[in-house]
């Protein structure tokens, strides 16, 4: 099958793109890497009347270090570039680690960093990682811009706060404090396949070795990535221990996740994966943090 007919616009600047999106309103849809959108259009699950292609806007593709030690990533930066970028590897090794799990070479060549977040797939790594890293997202429209925290950006499966006339322009990743360790753990049926369940843990230790802060995020086990509140309750201020990690895993599995049964895994299997992966991720994050991150 092929996509239904639609109008196609290829603006060459952000301003021109925003004009087009405003004019088109609900008829318009942003095309980024197309690695989710074109597939959906090929099967006619998506039937946009018009596409606004951001691929011709060079000012949207960049990786810039920020003064405070973080990174600003332009929405159209390809996942492949993030995977290979030296600055990313230095500042956020976690991001590099995770990028390698996203689809396969062909998908990463084309797919974009911001596109994956805007797509808000509950099984996508980048929406989850942007929440775990407390990213700030720059959303632009013709009438102005606003900053949205990643946790507030996504509110349902494939649902974000983006209005039709808006585009995601930039993702800012704040720096990790010293003594922070980050880990990504996923189980999938085959390499390059979507995760049946995955866990991200980012832990910061204080000078005495107690947990100062923790971000624990689960994906593929709910309608959105899930940021654990229990992990913060149980761990912050405490000396990390295997017992505490197991308590977190139990609290997460019984109270925070809501996995579904589908072709890829049963809900029970996903719960069991999370139970195991949470302990592994926290243990490793703690080890990395105690070695300085």
């Amino acid at each position: 099958m092929k996509p239904i007919q639609f109008d196609y616009y290829a603006p060459t600047s952000v301003d021109e793109g925003l004009d087009k999106l405003t004019e088109l309103g609900y008829d318009g849809k942003v095309l980024a890497g197309g690695q989710s959108l074109i597939a959906a259009m090929n099967f006619r699950m998506a039937r946009p009347a018009a596409l606004v292609d951001l691929n011709r806007i060079p000012e949207l593709a960049y990786i810039k270090p920020t003064d405070d030690g973080g990174l600003a990533i332009g929405t159209m930066t390809r996942v492949r570039r993030v995977e290979q970028d030296a600055e990313v590897a230095k500042r956020f090794p976690l991001l590099r680690e995770v990028a390698q799990f996203i689809g396969h070479a062909q998908v990463r060549t084309r797919g974009t960093f911001g596109g994956a977040i805007a797509h808000a797939d509950p099984a996508g790594q980048l929406p989850a990682i942007s929440m775990a890293m407390n990213a700030n997202l720059l959303v632009c429209s013709k009438t102005g811009e606003r900053w949205v925290n990643a946790t507030d950006f996504i509110f349902g499966p494939f649902m974000t706060v983006l209005e039709p006339q808006e585009m995601l322009a930039e993702v800012v990743l704040p720096p990790n404090p010293p003594r922070t360790g980050s880990v990504y753990k996923q189980v999938s049926r085959q390499k390059g396949g979507y995760a049946q369940a995955a866990v991200i843990a980012i832990m910061t230790l204080d000078e005495a070795g107690a947990c100062q802060n923790v971000r624990l995020v689960m994906m593929s086990v709910g309608e959105t990535p899930i940021v654990s509140e229990k992990a913060v309750e149980i761990l912050v201020g405490q000396k990390p221990s295997e017992q505490a990690f197991k308590a977190v895993a139990e609290a997460v599995v019984t109270g925070e996740i809501d996995p579904a049964t589908d072709l890829h895994a049963t809900a029970d299997y996903r719960r069991q994966l999370v139970r195991v992966l949470v302990v592994r991720a926290l243990t490793e994050a703690c080890e990395r943090a105690s070695k300085g991150g």
């Binding site: 196609y8 095309l31 062909q106 390059g192």
Partner: protein, 156 residues
Amino acid sequence: MSVTRINLTVNGSKEVVDVPSNWTLLQMLREKMALTGTKNGCAAGECGACTVMLNGEPVNSCMVLAVECDGAEVVTVEGLVQDGQMDVLQQTIIDAGGVQCGFCTPGMLISARALLDRNPNPSADEVRAALVGNLCRCTGYIRIVEAVQTAAQASQ
């Protein structure tokens, strides 16, 4: 419906094509340019049978619109033949018995070529990682991986 005139280079030759906006690169290659080496498997990015090189990097041509390729350089499996000479990968995949029905082969060859272009001496694991997006229902992959490694050695 909008039709757009695009300029692009396909296998080294400059082309001017009028494409409807809803055509994928795959459809343009097969139906407008009669380059049927590139295969249509799933149209969803899953199988890699449609893999071509876009500006030197492998992409699934079923997931790129033709209009997006204005100004681009595309290489398909047909373009691997230079002056009547097959790419070394083509010879080694035949020699290794890495082709059975052949449906996956064009995509495999492009992914493998992209790998060797940036990493001339890959390990077996690196070859497998580069070919993860190319499904083969016949060979069991082992001979394909061997063929890529043999080609790498032959090119040293």
